[in-house]
């Protein structure tokens, strides 16, 4: 199982799911209409490191963070 957390204004509780790669996570998240709307503008971190490869293999206990558009300062 991996854990997916939704940061900032997405306002959704974390979910756990079975996933071998980030592509699997993407498919499952698209089943949630509210989350699907956020995804085109969201970046992704795996265990707190920013990632850019959907084929990244996942292991049990991994944490995936979904980061919506930012505005610090």
């Amino acid at each position: 199982m991996v854990k997916v957390e939704f940061l900032g204004p997405i306002g959704k509780a974390p979910v756990e799911m079975e996933a071998a790669t980030l592509a699997d996570v993407a498919e499952k998240l698209k089943e949630d209409g509210t989350v699907k709307e956020w995804l085109p503008k969201c970046a992704v971190a795996l265990n707190d490191t920013m990632v850019s490869d959907l084929n990244m293999p996942l292991k049990d206990g991994d944490k995936i963070s979904v980061l919506p558009p930012v505005c610090g300062g």
Binding site: C42, A43, V44, L54, C71, G73
Partner: protein, 144 residues
């Protein structure tokens, strides 16, 4: 990197940073202060931060500055920050002014684009995500 609940004590932070580097032989110290402006009827801005990724982002900047013989520092607020107070300060110290002038611009711009911080307007006590002023981070859309 320093994170505080509520508005920053700008004078204390800048004074302390000056003291910290007093003997470091830097010729230039260039500070930046972000202050909350009164506009659109807001009482305050409010901020969420994802600290693990912010620290990694800042550490990468420290390495970049170090390669140029410089140091970057920053402080940011978490939670509500009333108008006319400050939520963000940063600074670059470098041996000569040119490196610090260039780095402070790049650092502040990359901060706006890629630091994992979310901003909300506070109106009538309600937090409203500043969607139109927010920027997707580098690499956004991976899961879309």
């Amino acid at each position: 990197m320093e994170l505080y609940s509520g508005p920053l004590d700008v004078k204390e932070i800048f004074g302390r940073w000056l003291d910290e580097e007093a003997e470091s032989n830097y010729g230039a110290y260039i500070p930046f202060v972000g202050t909350i402006r009164a506009e659109d009827g807001i009482e305050a801005l409010s901020f969420d931060i994802y600290e693990p990724v912010l620290r990694a982002w800042f550490d990468a900047w420290q390495e970049r500055a170090k390669a140029l013989g410089a140091v970057v520092k920053m402080a940011h607020s978490i939670g509500d920050v009333p108008v006319h107070t400050s939520s963000y300060v940063s600074a670059v110290f470098s041996p000569k002014r040119r490196v610090a002038l260039e780095l402070i611009e790049e650092f502040v711009e990359d901060f706006k684009a890629n630091a994992p911080i979310w901003k909300y307007d506070v109106k009538n006590g309600e937090r409203i995500y500043a969607k139109d002023r927010s920027t997707p981070m580098d690499g956004s859309g991976l899961l879309a």
